[in-house]
């Protein structure tokens, strides 16, 4: 089952640049929350703070509190590696490991963390690929086809399967379909629908229709600040803030 995320007074910097300001948000378990906003508004930065990926950038800094379930993400005793095992991430551009087969890609998160049992690995790989709606397309060539030789849409679903294999509680998706064609995009959106039942999903998207299609909740970011956060229906039909309305109606961004 997925868990909820509580974000409180979250700030992040790139060197001297203050990228996100005082974000306060409660993300509901087992639902999909979309993050929308114009380019450079901090949506990706915010999401990367949730699984401590932001700090991998030199001179990057985070302050504030993030709680995933009962765990303080930035707590004193918590290691970043721990958090990243519990939070899966899918990136904008598919990034399968090119030297590994499809099978090895999906199993990577487990094998490289010490998982030994071969039989169980096979089951987990199959289950993850089914969850990612990729199983039928690759099941005959699992160990022979390299991860990089699939089409763009397949690669992204492979990355989703890879993230699912370690059984995270939260799935973060940073514009997962923006580099893909419409058919692949639609497949991935269907996927998100299925995944919602078992995982908490946070999806960054610049495509408002996509947010409307897949997410129950939407957050609108502007210039590093959270402007409005509410049920998707409300955001798109009756936004509370004028800036939200301007963005939705296409007056900027």
């Amino acid at each position: 089952m997925g868990v909820g995320i509580q974000v409180s007074q979250l700030n992040a910097w790139f060197g001297a640049t203050h990228a996100i300001h005082d974000i306060q948000m409660d993300i509901t378990a087992n639902h999909a929350t979309a993050i929308i906003g114009p380019s450079g508004c901090g949506k990706s930065t915010f999401v990367r703070c949730l699984n401590r990926m932001h700090e991998t950038i030199p001179n990057a800094r985070v302050e504030g509190t993030v709680k995933i379930g009962d765990t303080h993400v930035y707590g004193n005793g918590t290691s970043a590696v721990e958090i990243r095992r519990r939070v899966g991430m899918v990136f904008q551009k598919p990034n399968p490991f090119p030297t590994m087969s499809v099978y090895d890609n999906v199993a990577a998160g487990l094998k490289l963390n010490g998982y030994r049992s071969h039989r169980e690995l096979e089951e987990i790989v199959e289950r993850s690929l089914r969850q990612a709606a990729l199983w039928d397309e690759v099941k005959d060539l699992l160990k022979k086809k390299s991860g990089a030789s699939l089409s763009g849409g397949q690669q992204q679903r492979l990355c989703i399967a890879r993230a699912l294999a370690v059984e995270p509680e939260v799935m973060l998706m940073d514009e997962p379909a923006s580099a893909l064609d419409p058919i692949s995009t639609s497949k991935i959106e269907d996927l998100i629908f299925e995944l919602k039942q078992n995982y908490t999903i946070v999806i960054v998207t610049h495509n408002m229709q996509q947010a409307a299609r897949v997410a129950e909740f939407t957050a609108f970011f502007l210039s590093g600040k959270l402007v409005e956060f509410d049920k998707t229906e409300k955001i798109f039909t009756n936004p509370g803030d004028k800036r939200t309305e301007d963005y939705i109606t296409g007056r900027f961004g």
């Binding site: 269907d190 078992n198 299609r213 039909t237």
Partner: protein
Amino acid sequence: MLKQMNGPLLRTKVQPNPAQPASQDSPAPVPRQKIEHKSSRLADATFRYLMLVCALSVLAIVVLIVRELILSSALARHTFGLKFFVTQVWDPVSGDFGALPFIYGTLVSSLLALIMAVPLSIGVATFTTEICPPRLRSMLSYVVELLATIPSVIYGLWGMYVLVPILRQYVQPFLAKYFGWTGLFSGYQFGYSMLAAGIILAIMIIPIITSITREVMSAVPTAQREGVLAIGATRWEMIRVGVLRNARTGIMGAIILGLGRALGETIAVTLLIGNRPEIAKSLFAPGYTLASVIANEFSEATGDLYLSALVEIGLALFLITLLVNIVAQLMVWSITRGSTQRATA
């Protein structure tokens, strides 16, 4: 207008795929083998420390080089002081050592090599980047780089069998006849001479000067070339002004790097230079370089002073090449910006 975006916002657009196994609908099962939540901090720290040790060992090696050279040459340095570098005598029997003939030999042979190699290298680089048809380009550069893979000892062997006889039979008589008045081409025509060493060194440093020159020439933006052509320059003028002038610093760096190589070259030179510790004006005379005297005499040196003097020669060679290489690195770095760029996603 907002109202137009109504409609089924939150309803599923597509039915779930019925082929999915039933486990899809139940909560995600717990993996049977627990993924070990061992802290990886220790492993990460150890790994980083190990890599740091490797990097530090590079520094350690250079420190060791300096240390060993200084320590093992101590006896000679204390015995002769700075006079070592201006004394012409090299007499192992009486224990009187001076490095001047070798310094002279090293410098003259290297400069001679540069005089011959630089125009040829720039010519080849120009040809490869500006004139040669693109299809031949990579083959040509491969062939020139092939010259760089030939070991020094093979150059020396070839020099003994081919270069020296050619010098003795054709080149030296020719030079003596027409240019003997300069004083550079007089005396007995041994064949094994400063001239032979200079020529073989020139052949050996051409590849490195060429390849770096090629690199900096290719780095000159097309806009520069086009700009010069646009004001009506000929092809050669375009090359001279649009490319070579812009790549000036880099080419200087390449030349100095080539010099550094020539200064340290040992085996080919030893086989061809005649190995006589004398200072002579004529290029036909045999000579001796810092590297050659070490190569010839080190393993047979008797007595601590003898060995120490040879190590001091090694120290001198090290310092000279260090200086030259640092200057060259700085020049090449200023063009190519030293560190490599990280690839972005």
